[in-house]
Symmetry: C2
Subunit: 251 residues, 2 copies
């Protein structure tokens, strides 16, 4: 893990780093000493580790809760190079969409492929960040919606350090074959508390598929928050709720 | 409005009263002076104005937000006499259930009948309570789930003083004729912010009907909170959320 820059603003220290080929950013309270909860944030499709919604949330997690927050670029996003295989699949998928195929299974298949790379990358990031004296091996949370949910579900299912997760804007097939889908079967391995965000008028994720993914989570404590609006229109008050959710389960 | 008793505990003044034939209870901060938000709470079926869930919520609304809270017994509940017509309908409905009819339309029809009495009663209660110097004509909120939702939807739709409502554990027919139902058509007249509680494994209200009632609300800001568990098992953290919801919209 190599730190490449360091800035500070409003009591929040921001450190850019690389871990092997993974570019990342770590936010911690300025002058932090000792172990604290760590939240890993997964960005959306076409976004990157310092996208506005990541920055807004990370700033509040650090400033108001004293947490550490880490985000990295997903392969083929942000500062990372294109991935030829992904480009090829994206082109194929576009042709299949043009031919009238349903988008949801194509998206799910693609996210499952990317997750085979991101799950081990994110585990390596946790390993490295938790070595830092001012982060340490405290409880871990995960936050990610949209692509961050598609990649987050298999990550949270696989990584026992994660004690609570905020997910959403993602779905699972609602058909009889739902249990055979990758997203639903990973969701069925999640047992930690989950706050799950649904946009009631999501133009990308059919409502019934959002509800099916929430349904598939095996967590005894899971809470679905649905609000009117399109995919990108999560209301501001949900960030307050997310803060309290993580404070309750990681604090 | 006639006060019949007064007790005080933990900074909360509790005053029992009658308004005509309606027995009620008013909670306010001890020593309160001047206008403040007022929350009207509607109790569940078979319950009464001082049911445990009402008491727990009212105590926190008063102690933590400085609100006034009022609750009254619904006809044929608590201290109020039986209503012959209701008993007759209940007997008829039981026979129809035994004959295999769907419960939801029977419940909805019965609640619509009771609401014809409770809507004017609750408006009269607001009129009377808002005359008190230590309550005044501040913003009004409504809280009610189950029967309190069935009676609350037509009340909130009719009463312009209500600025925000917490509803839930209730439904509307999810069929093509949904817009023809009393609950859905009243819900379509509600435009104030609503927090809507759904129990994901509700044994009394089919999930699809809960979602249909939420869907029917015309509010620009409405937020659905769904949690695992049966009809009576709303998790404790939802009370924290309710407090913040009312504080945001009435405070």
């Amino acid at each position: 893990m190599r730190f490449t820059s360091e800035t500070s603003s409003g009591g929040v220290l921001e450190q850019l780093f690389t871990l092997g080929e993974i570019p990342g950013v770590l936010w911690t309270p300025e002058g932090a000493v000792g172990t604290r909860p760590l939240v890993l944030m997964g960005h959306g499709g076409g976004q990157h580790k310092k996208a506005p919604d990541i920055l807004a949330r990370a700033g509040r997690f650090v400033a108001e809760c004293g947490f550490a927050v880490v985000a990295v670029d997903v392969p083929a996003h942000g500062e990372r190079p294109k991935v030829e295989e992904y480009d090829r699949i994206a082109t194929e998928n576009q042709a299949r969409l043009d031919a009238g195929e349903e988008p949801a299974p194509l998206i799910a298949g693609f996210q499952a492929l990317v997750a085979r790379q991101t799950v081990p990358e994110w585990r390596a990031v946790l390993d490295a960040v938790q070595q830092l004296e001012y982060v340490g091996a405290g409880p871990v949370g995960y936050w990610g919606v949209s692509l961050g949910c598609g990649l987050g579900v298999p990550f949270v299912a696989a990584e026992s350090r994660v004690r609570a997760a905020v997910l959403g804007l993602g779905g699972a097939p609602a058909s009889a074959s739902a249990s055979a889908s990758a997203s639903a079967s990973a969701a069925a391995q999640i047992t930690v508390p989950v706050e799950f965000l649904v946009q009631w008028d999501d133009e990308r994720v059919p409502r019934v598929q959002s509800l099916a993914l929430f349904d598939a989570l095996a967590s005894a404590e899971k809470t679905l928050h649905a609000n009117p609006g399109k995919h990108g229109e999560i209301p501001a008050f949900e960030l307050d709720s997310t803060l309290r959710f993580f404070a309750r389960h990681l604090g």
